[in-house]
């Protein structure tokens, strides 16, 4: 049984990768979790997870000639299975993002929860693919007008492709006192609930610089505990793995994106 989430934002700088890792680690307390850096053009999960020097990444799985097996790109770190993506521009250009559906289908057979760290944009096929493939989308937003506006777009794209909303996660929150109002109003326009409001926190920057996930670098920090609380708000709706794999494999995604 598996459920695939796209962790998306529509805008860069909202702390999406930090959120993906933190939610993944929190969910891994109870579930078997796999996280995938599906932001194949601007990969950075590898730096957050201390995997900067690994040999095989998602790029190798997306380039047919490399003949890499899916298992070779899966690293067991921090209680999670992590599939990082490389940062080579040449590899990005050679990659066939359509192969992502097969990769996701294989990974889905072996895990309870798949988190796809998605590109912070909606302007290309590559960028929308994780949203197309996922069961539900978690929208990570900073509480600003441009981020909310882009978050609304993510939601509309997702629902256009039949992907449900799992919820909104506010990150980098600086004015906690006003968040109740912002949360109430946000819930009016977004389909899922607001699952949390993570405070802006220097620990997140230090963790990133140290190449360590926030939850292992500073587990007691206000941001880390808020991520754990947010993960607890997610109700997992597992689906039959074989059916999910079939859906991924049959998704009509052109080979060349």
């Amino acid at each position: 049984m598996v459920e695939a989430f796209a962790v998306a934002s529509g805008k860069g700088g909202t702390g999406k990768t930090t959120a993906t890792l933190a939610l993944g680690m929190a969910l891994a307390e109870e579930h078997d979790v796999t996280i995938v850096d599906a932001d194949t053009g601007m990969a950075n999960l590898l730096f957050h997870a201390g995997l900067a020097d690994v040999e095989t990444t998602l790029h190798d799985l997306l380039i047919e000639e490399r003949e890499a097996s899916v298992d070779a790109a899966v690293y067991e770190r921090h209680g999670l299975s992590v599939v990082p993506c490389g940062t080579s521009l040449t590899d990005f250009e050679a990659a066939e993002p359509g192969r992502l559906r097969d990769v996701v289908a294989s990974l889905g057979a072996d895990t309870d929860i798949l988190l796809l760290d998605s590109p912070a944009a909606l302007g290309s096929k590559t960028a929308v693919l994780p949203i197309v493939l996922a069961d539900r989308v978690i929208t990570v937003l900073s509480p600003t007008i441009p981020a909310l506006s882009d978050g609304l777009k993510v939601q509309e794209y997702a629902s256009s492709y039949g992907t449900d909303a799992a919820g909104v996660l506010f990150n980098k929150v600086r004015d906690d006192a006003r968040m109740d109002t912002v949360t109430d109003r946000t819930e009016r326009y977004f389909d899922g609930p607001v699952i949390g409001a993570v405070p802006e926190c220097s620990a997140a920057h230090r963790a990133r610089a140290a190449g360590e996930p926030l939850l292992s670098y500073a587990p007691e920090s206000p941001a880390a505990t808020a991520f754990v609380d947010a993960a607890a708000e997610l109700t997992i709706e597992p689906r039959d793995s074989a059916a999910v794999a079939d859906r991924f494999r049959s998704a009509v995604v052109p080979d060349r994106l």
Binding site: L148, K153, E156, Y161, G162, T181, V252, V253, P254
Partner: protein, 189 residues
Amino acid sequence: MKLPRGRLLRSRVVSAAGTALSTVLDGALTGYVVFEPQDALLLDVDGRGVVTFREGVPMLVYHTGTDRGGVDGLADLAVPGPYKIDVFSLPAGKIEELHETESLRVRPGVPAERVAGDSGLADRTRSRAREHGLMPDEDALADEADAVASFLDDEERIEAIKRQARAEAERQASEWGLEDELVGDDGRE
């Protein structure tokens, strides 16, 4: 507060402090104003009030008689007019050094509210402060939160964003050959 000597722009008597604040805002003064109540002897108030400005926005307040600054200094300054006011200009660099003295800081709109009782002037001062990035962090945050809240109140605008995004998603799906993945309003495929 050690005040570098500025260039005296004008010296005159005004009936109310608000007049001086308003003139200085209009003239976008970077410098300082010395307020000397004319009834000082009568009121048993000794000393002068000094307010520094950037682009006409009040930044620091200090009262020489009570040696108090910030909002407290402002209270000492808030005595009935008339005042003799001396307006001095200072280079922005010099005034910046002074503005590092956090204990004397006042929020941009506060002098207009407390001394002049003029909320219109306070609003004008705050919007000037915003224009020049002179709002203190906590005010800027509150501003941003207010802006976000009022954005989320604008149901029509939000529905328009959603409608536009949906149309864009559908148009791009057909451009990208993903139209078979699209669903209607009734759920997946």
